[in-house]
Symmetry: C2
Subunit: 203 residues, 2 copies
């Protein structure tokens, strides 16, 4: 797996207070992501027509994150759910999709998405190369869980939304290495709609 | 249910980052409650020989809570798990146990525990009377969930421990009124071993 000198591997997700990144039947996104549209600071994204309106504290944090993250690893489920972000992920970063196969219509010219059939370890390795020394962002559910289980995860970032969803997809779905100890949060940023918490994985 | 002028009804629990108040098979308490023994400030309890050693920030918060909470509502499961705190709950407050029956050996002379067979609504009502204008503390799991479902809960207090337990008993076990929106946290207190978060229930 190499040494962890070239940027960190960080899982990132918005989570409900009861631990879900989506509610039953892919519900609850309006609640979870209220903070993307709950403030007065406009944040333009790489996607045409997509502008977020955040609190000053969330906008500042997100822009700093954008500068520090060099590549993303996502699961096939999230990729399909978002329609591959129509080829323009809002963060405009190279993306490695962990997938058993390459979806129809992909890859596309000029879109920096790769499809990795060799599991999360290989996907993270490839994303590290693409990130060129910056962090690798991992989202979420089973991919974050697999990274944690494989000892690949350095940090866990949680944007904690003040809602109880009562069910759905857990952030770390079906974790086999529990109990997993974290350290922190080393950073807490409050927003009227969300609390950003950042933890280090304890080894 | 009367007006909410006479103290609030507040659910209180230490929870893992993935939403559990106990891990699989009643495990994980060492991780969840590390903050009760992780600092340098001694906090004496009503139980002989039980002294906690907390961080200054947690000790300050807990002592303030002790002054503000007048009575507790607990479930039979927690009551049995703790052996009824041997008749001396560390907070030394009147306790109403929600239970289908009265356990063997109870009630005991001089121990301010009552057993309520009429559900959480009646238990909360009784605890309100015992609390004499102070808050009613509710712990946890199915009792907190039932209070939330019945519209009885004013606040949710979470002491968030930096650990993933991967399973066990959720704070709000089997919530039927999801999504349930909260407001806040209106208070965040950091401790090296825990993050105390306090939310209001949105109505």
């Amino acid at each position: 797996m190499g040494e962890r000198t070239a940027g960190k591997v960080i899982s990132m997700a918005t989570m409900s207070l009861d631990g879900y990144i989506s509610g039953p039947g892919e519900s609850g996104f309006d609640r979870l992501f209220a903070w993307y549209d709950g403030g007065e600071v406009e944040v333009d994204t790489a996607r045409p027509g997509m502008t977020w309106r955040m609190s000053p504290q969330s906008a500042r944090l997100l822009l700093s994150d954008l500068a520090s993250v060099g590549a993303m690893v996502v699961g096939r489920r999230l990729f399909d759910l978002t329609g591959g972000w129509d080829g323009r992920h809002p963060f405009e970063r190279p993306i490695v999709v962990v997938s058993h196969g390459v979806p129809d219509g992909w890859p596309r010219p000029g879109v920096p998405y790769e499809f990795c059939r060799d599991g999360v370890g290989a996907a993270v390795e490839r994303a590290r190369a693409l990130a060129r020394g910056r962090h690798v962002g991992v989202t979420a559910g089973s991919i974050a869980r697999q990274c944690l289980e494989a000892g690949l995860l350095d940090e866990v970032w949680i944007s904690l939304a003040p809602v109880l969803l009562g069910g759905g997809t857990p952030y770390f779905d079906g974790l086999a290495v529990a109990p997993a100890d974290l350290e922190g949060p080393y950073l807490v940023v409050q927003d009227p709609h969300v609390t950003h918490l950042r933890y280090r994985v304890r080894r």
